[in-house]
């Protein structure tokens, strides 16, 4: 997996999909662990679905604040969730990583703005 097309200063948003068990637990745990152990700043949300249903204004902030890498699930679903909350994602500003199908190590390698050494799971 190569480097991301996003600029180095893109924000990172991680969705924990807290209210369902459809994202493999080991992938979620490893992604969160690697993010936590990195030196990077990031936003973590409990569940984008829940935020979309509530039309949480945070989604509008996420969508409108420039380049962003979203670690969640299928891109079609993520775009739909943001649009449903009247916070559509701009195609060229967003990169979505799918924890339902991709390996944690590949996701983090692409999503983190700089390569950060990981000392293993906590």
């Amino acid at each position: 997996m190569g480097r991301t097309s996003q600029p180095e200063d893109a924000r990172v948003v991680y969705c924990n999909c807290t209210y369902a068990k459809v994202v493999p637990e080991d992938v979620k745990t490893e992604v969160l662990t690697r993010l936590s152990q990195s030196g990077a700043a990031f936003d973590a949300v409990a569940d984008l679905c829940e935020m979309s249903a509530r039309k949480d204004p945070a989604l509008e902030r996420i969508a409108a604040a420039g380049p962003v890498r979203i670690i969640a699930c299928y891109p079609r679903a993520v775009h739909g969730l943001f649009r449903a909350a009247q916070a559509p994602l701009a195609g060229e500003q967003v990169e979505i990583f799918n924890m339902r199908v991709a390996a944690a190590v590949d996701i983090v390698r692409k999503a983190l703005p700089v390569a950060v050494p990981v000392k293993g799971k906590a």
Partner: protein, 299 residues
């Protein structure tokens, strides 16, 4: 269930200027526990970029060692800001602190609802309104632009993807569903032909299923004619629908309340009438506007 109320508490793990970094194990434990409890958490480090805060309440946690963090850079932010020192606190203690603050602010506990609801892929939706006609729970509606919309998410029956089965374009997603393309996976041409994906609404509600039901009900009526036991007839219907349930992954309670063909047609007619009235009203408003003047045309 209070859906459509914005979140009011965002937690910031502050590790920027003026705060010592959290211990890695402490940080991960706090992150995992706060996310599991339904909170939004932002980790801030010097030089890092995160999503700006909104006007909701902000709880900033850090190891300030007597100092305090700089306020959020967002100018004009008028939401509540609370700062807590978590030096030496375990992940579990950090969650306790957040819960104390949330309770003190009178903010509702997150996670009181399982977020299961349809999400429309407007790149695929043709506004045919079959889903609106099919859904018995008023999940769908039509917005001011005569566009299909999901208006009552919390009315949706958890784990039921039935409406996505009747969408001829595979435009209805349930992101927490197990299989594609209903879960948001790419729609392939073969998905639109797949029996397990595409179920013709008339076949589901007015065709073979009801014919089969009627036949089996006749048989059941003979069998139970001496008993007149309605619960047995209900069991018979359940048995008949079991195969369909397994194939389409539709919960019992939804299958047993499926509308009749007449109901469906009536609901579709009402939806069309409503749409036509809205269009007529919109046309009338346009007609009442004065004709464009020469100035309007730029001549």
């Amino acid at each position: 269930m209070p859906v459509l109320a914005p979140a009011a508490l965002r937690v910031v793990l502050y590790e920027g200027e003026g705060s010592a970094p959290l211990d890695p194990g402490q940080r991960l434990a706090a992150l995992a526990a706060l996310l599991a409890a339904g909170y939004q958490v932002t980790r801030v480090v010097a030089g890092g970029i995160v999503t700006p805060p909104d006007s909701g309440s902000l709880l900033v946690l850090g190891q300030f060692q007597g100092g305090s963090p700089p306020p959020p850079a967002e100018e004009g932010r008028d939401g509540h800001l609370e700062v807590r020192d978590v030096t030496g606190s375990s992940g579990a203690r950090i969650v306790e602190i957040v819960e104390e603050v949330r309770t003190g602010l009178g903010v509702e506990s997150p996670g009181s609802w399982t977020p299961w609801f349809p999400v429309i892929d407007y790149e695929r939706c043709t506004n045919c309104m079959q889903c609106l006609s099919f859904c018995l729970f008023d999940v769908y509606g039509v917005n001011g632009a005569s566009e299909l919309t999901v208006q009552n998410q919390s009315n949706c029956k958890t784990s039921c993807p039935a409406c996505s089965r009747v969408c001829p374009e595979a435009a209805i997603m349930f992101p927490k569903y197990k299989q594609g393309p209903i879960n948001g996976d790419v729609v392939r041409p073969e998905d639109l032909q797949s029996e397990s994906m595409k179920v013709d609404i008339s076949a589901l509600l007015g065709g073979d299923i009801y014919a089969s039901l009627r036949q089996r009900q006749k048989t059941a009526r003979k069998r139970f004619s001496t008993e007149r036991d309605e619960s047995k007839a209900l069991l018979e219907r359940k048995r008949c629908l079991k195969k369909l349930q397994e194939k389409l992954d539709i919960p019992d309670e939804v299958l047993m309340t499926l509308p009749s063909v007449g109901d469906i047609q009536d609901r579709a007619r009402r939806a069309k009438e409503k749409h036509a009235k809205r269009m007529a009203r919109s046309q009338t408003v346009q007609d009442q506007k004065p004709a464009p003047s020469a100035d309007d045309w730029g001549i």
